[in-house]
């Protein structure tokens, strides 16, 4: 698994979504992590040190896995990316509910 910086990760994830438009799935996993082993974490706890947690993000298309870790300051960038790369294209593909379709049909007929 490749650990990337945020921008290269988003670029790679975008191309992963583009390559899987015809066939296949993309999994994106979010997990809270300190990126430190249990031994190191326990030592920090006993020493009274504060552990810094980040959001670990992993993505895979079944063949290749990429990952990155995000701290609080980059969360807004990530949120905008999800809207532009995942949600807007997926909304074009996914179904519009029947009530919305009826309203559109009625407005066209008027």
């Amino acid at each position: 698994m490749v650990l990337l910086q945020l921008d290269p990760f988003l670029n790679e994830l975008t191309s992963m979504f583009e390559r899987s438009t015809g066939t296949g799935s993309v999994w994106v996993t979010l997990k809270r992590s300190s990126l430190k082993s249990k031994v190191v974490r326990n030592k920090m706890v006993t020493a009274g040190e504060a552990i810094e947690y980040k959001c670990l993000i992993r993505a895979t298309n079944g063949k290749k896995t990429i990952s990155t870790s995000v701290c609080i300051s980059y969360i807004l960038n990530l949120s905008f990316w999800f809207i532009s790369v995942l949600l807007e294209p997926s909304c074009r593909v996914m179904q519009v509910s029947s009530t919305v379709e009826c309203k559109l049909r009625l407005s066209c007929e008027e």
Partner: protein, 103 residues
Amino acid sequence: MVYITSWDEFVERSVQLFRADPDSTRYVMKYRHCDGKLVLKVTDNRECLKYKTDQAQEAKKMEKLNNIFFTLMARGPEVDLSEVTGKEQTDAQPTKRGRGRKQ
């Protein structure tokens, strides 16, 4: 594995699951563009909550859940989520411009 039919119930139980065990809980999104289907899973390796949809309107709700989990995971399980949900509610509500009467 349990598929939950109500979105609000899924969100509430997911947040509770995370807060109960933040180190083990993960949030997984699976998207199949060819089918237009989105499956969301939240699990702590003991309990698993899933939600699936092919509706465009519900894909937009996922944006809110993403922000909730980003905030929980980066700031910690004790963070006040009203900041995240409150801001989005004000952003989501467009300013109403009614047809005013010309006097």
